[in-house]
Symmetry: C2
Amino acid sequence: MSNTKVLPLVEPETAVEPCCPPLAERPFSAEEAERTAKMFKALGDPVRLRLFSAVAAHADGEACVCDISDVGVSQPTVSHHLKKLKEAGLLSSERRGTWVYYRVEPSVVAAMGRLLTAAAG
Amino acid sequence: MSNTKVLPLVEPETAVEPCCPPLAERPFSAEEAERTAKMFKALGDPVRLRLFSAVAAHADGEACVCDISDVGVSQPTVSHHLKKLKEAGLLSSERRGTWVYYRVEPSVVAAMGRLLTAAAG
């Protein structure tokens, strides 16, 4: 068994664009609902929502796992949830030294906010 | 086995108040995350999101199952999802004659929107 791995030089980016008209403009198509539901689902878990809030509220708007491990789950679990939030497009990440730093992806989160605010119209 | 049931005269209301500070103000507590994640989870399913959008976009901002059954699932499934959205506080409902009419609960949806918009800073 070998521990040697070739690390990719560039991390593949999961392109999640802010999508779709306000929820009240017209009924979402199946495709629009599929894309957008993923983002809401990412925030539909209490631990993920706490972590997302912890990143958003952290100094300079970014945090590493080392900063936000006080939510009562293990560090690997924290990393797992942060990865899910990143896959949903809500966080971006950057590795610096030992740690990966996460920050809120403002355009995506703002677009989600607008979907809802307009639906409350 | 008896089929007789005493129906409650008043339907119990699931009180879901718009909760919690903007996501970026400070890390959510476990209790805040628990409450808020339920609302996001309700929109984290593509069929529910389409139905929510269909209600929000319908004439006069309200719709019954009879109005929005074109999302490719059975009418009982539509009813089930609308009930979930109601339980999460995102829709309110009123029975008129044969049908239950659903409408978006603006204060709750607006509060969710604000949580996100503020996190996008």
